[in-house]
């Protein structure tokens, strides 16, 4: 970079640690030229105070020595993710992601293509010099076939190293980008065209119109092992055969800025929307013996809902409650179970190793959990899973309820859980008041209010059966 001051850049590059007016770039490097074009356009468009540049890992990691705008250095390849966050959280900002070909097209390609595909309001400048400059000249995704680098000493081979990655053309497959162009800083004529393109891309940012991608072919004499002139010639001649220049897409006239967001409510107001889910605070009560329970069966039997209904009743009765479901692959395998604890003080372990109460709707679950029940505990099972070969234990009370049969006879074979709830209520094992259980019975269907009437019907039938058949 020359020592002539560019408006929008610092007069002296003190951030480098030395009061200097010469840049850290090698002689003949294209970065400095592009830096100037970007800052000139920012100043001309009056954007200096709105701009945040996200700089990459690569030779431009020190871009902040020069640009007199807000600057955030990103991890290797992550400038688009960083820029996305700035753009979304500060809508008025003009956001620039400045990247090289290794940074964007190799390690950070997914981040780059995803930001482009989301149509983030930002411009990406990708400096394409066919190499990793900062680390000394290794092969990059855009290295030309036959190009010798430190990691392609025999020259890049299509068969083993693939073809040069043409990012602009790939991005042109996406719907969202508003502007896609490739330009060059190899000579004065090309620099002039690049100036127009850079300005256009930044105008789009000024107007909040969406995502722009500008690829800039740039000489890197150092890594190319050429002098400045030869390197510029390589950029103009050889690179352009693979990376043709031009505006590939310009949707700027169709693009519209995002509408302002809909008015939002405050956080307390948001949670106040669900007033029907308010509970009284739990209170310490040494007279209430903690109940540790397991409800088990298979998917579709309302196992988890029955558990939730019980803790909801517990919460209404100002008990401390915990509900812990099976989840993940086990649930997809057809098993459903949940552990719940209802207590008169802060609950320790949420895990129920030895339930006082077990509710079981399938045989495999009975086989699994019956041995764990505390001596003196109570087990509620569906009558249909019992039989002469059913597991049993002399030291626990087994209450058989024809839950599925009663539910089916009363209009919903899926409401066996509700019949089980009546048995829990009738036998008073939970120590929870009837009103709380009745309220929770309806409340757990708050998302399916049309089922409440049917569920009450099953509940009444279940309770009638319990009164007749259970002590």
């Amino acid at each position: 970079m020359s020592t002539k001051r560019t408006v929008g850049m610092f007069e002296s590059f003190d951030r480098s640690g030395r009061a200097t007016r010469s840049s850290h770039y090698c002689a003949g490097c294209g970065h400095g030229i592009l830096h100037k074009l970007i800052t000139e356009a920012l100043v001309e468009l009056g954007l200096q105070d709105r701009t945040v540049v996200v700089s990459p890992i690569g030779c431009a990691v020190f871009g902040y020595y020069y640009w007199d705008v807000g600057n955030i250095g990103a991890a290797h390849g992550r400038a688009p993710a960083v820029a996305t966050a700035v753009s979304r959280t500060i809508p008025q900002a003009v956001v620039v992601a400045y990247q090289g070909d290794g940074d964007l097209a190799a390690i950070g390609f997914n981040c780059a293509v995803q930001a482009a595909n989301r149509g983030e309001r930002m411009v990406t400048f990708m400096v394409n010099n066919c190499t990793y400059g900062m680390t000394g000249g290794q092969m990059s995704p855009t290295s030309l076939l036959g190009q010798r680098t430190l990691t392609s000493p025999q020259g890049r081979e299509a068969a083993t190293e693939g073809h040069p990655l043409r990012v602009a053309e790939l991005f042109n497959q996406l719907q969202a980008p508003v502007y896609i162009a490739r330009c060059s800083v190899a000579d004065t004529k090309r620099i002039f065209q690049t100036k127009q393109i850079v300005r256009k891309a930044l105008e789009l940012q000024r107007d909040g119109k969406g995502y722009a991608y500008v690829e800039v072919l740039s000489p890197c004499p150092t890594a190319m092992g050429l002098d400045a002139l030869a390197s510029a010639r390589f950029t103009a001649e050889q690179m352009e055969q693979v990376f043709p220049l031009g505006v590939i897409r310009d949707h700027s006239t169709q693009a519209v800025p995002l509408p302002p967001p809909a008015p939002a409510c405050s956080v307390p107001d948001f949670f106040a929307r669900y007033r029907d889910r308010d509970f009284p605070a739990p209170v310490e009560d040494a007279t209430y013996t903690e109940r540790r329970m397991i409800v088990a069966g298979s998917g579709g039997q309302g196992i988890l809902v029955l558990g939730l209904c019980l803790i909801e009743a517990g919460a209404l009765a100002q008990r401390f409650v915990t509900w812990y479901p099976t989840y993940g692959p086990e649930q997809r395998g057809g098993f459903a179970s949940c552990a719940l604890v209802i207590g008169g003080r802060t609950i320790g372990s949420p895990h129920v190793e030895h339930p006082d109460i077990l509710v079981c709707l399938t045989r495999p679950m009975l086989e699994r959990f019956l041995p764990l029940v505390k001596p003196g505990g109570v087990v509620f099972c569906d009558t249909m899973i019992l039989g002469p070969d059913a597991p049993s234990r002399p030291d626990v009370r087994i209450v058989a309820v024809p839950a599925t049969e009663l539910a089916a006879a009363n209009g919903s074979s899926r409401a066996a859980n509700t019949v089980m709830l009546t048995a829990l209520l009738h036998t008073r094992v939970t120590g929870l008041p009837e009103e709380a259980i009745l309220h929770a019975r309806d409340a757990t269907l708050r998302k399916k209010p049309s089922l409440i009437a049917l569920n009450r019907h099953v509940f009444d039938a279940g309770l009638a059966w319990c009164r007749q058949n259970l002590p």
Partner: protein, 349 residues
Amino acid sequence: MVRLMKGNEAVVAGALYAGCDAFFGYPITPASEIAHAAAEWLPAVGRVFIQAECETASINMVYGAGAAGKLAMTATSGPGMSLMQEGLSYMAGTGIPGVVVNIQRAGPALGNVYTEQADYNQAVKGGGHGSYHAMVLAPASVQELCDGTMRAFALAFQYRTPVIVLSDAAQGQMTESMRLPVVEHDRPAGVAAWAVQGTAASRGNLHTSIFLDVDVLEGINRDLQRKYAAMQVEAAAEEYRIDDAEVVFLAYGTSSRIARTAVDQLRATGVRAGLFRPLTLFPFPREALCRLADRKLVVVEMSCGQFREDVIGQFAAGIRKVPEVQLVHRMGGVLVSVDAVAEAARKLV
């Protein structure tokens, strides 16, 4: 307002009351419900939600929003946490605040989606490259997931550091009753001095972490270590029935709840047991721990002994004397049983 809430949802409730501006996340069991709630709740109150393309992007989005002075967070589990380590190092090294919730699952590698506490070292010792730490909070209930997430934001901005809320699958998946916070936190103070916000006032602000001058970088490392020493005032622990306890369990998070039940069972049979439970894992409540050097100590954890190793290190650093510390642990997604914990104590008395 008391609500029944799933732990994963409580995280988002806490975040909203903290004033969280943006959530960036990627699906992973058992943490996904955090992203589900964030996707619904944040836009409803005018905040930003983005489903990122991977956890690497999530953490770098948190970095970007944090660099802009915004309150940003992400949530994930084991494998996602591993992918975020580079980003956490950048946040710590650059002084960018942000919150990461780890709903720990069982590892290593793909492991399974059940509860483990084996990301302890990763969270507490730094986890990424370089000499740094994140602040680490250790909730044990749905309430603490809400309150802890809320507090994490305040700490992140006070110290300009990443804060990890080290939770686990059991807490994330369980539902408990929870008091919603009463008011929203005020926005953190002093942000304008360093945030890059695309304004005239912030034009001179810069975030970078490259320092080629070795003396400068050593100075920055020393500053970081001084910051960690200053954080020590935030160290906190909860003690349960500890005064006359002969045996004291040392446990954090979900393990501490199992140990708490064991304490009650032991006390009911005449064994004087107690529980010491760190609420912060970095900084570690070293002083309070060292006061227990003369008790019979049992660590309860769901990993290979990572927490116990740290406990031993804390004694060594605090009083240059390491008492005997027993270990009761399970791995692979199995919860420690109350019986096993109580049994370990009985053997000692």
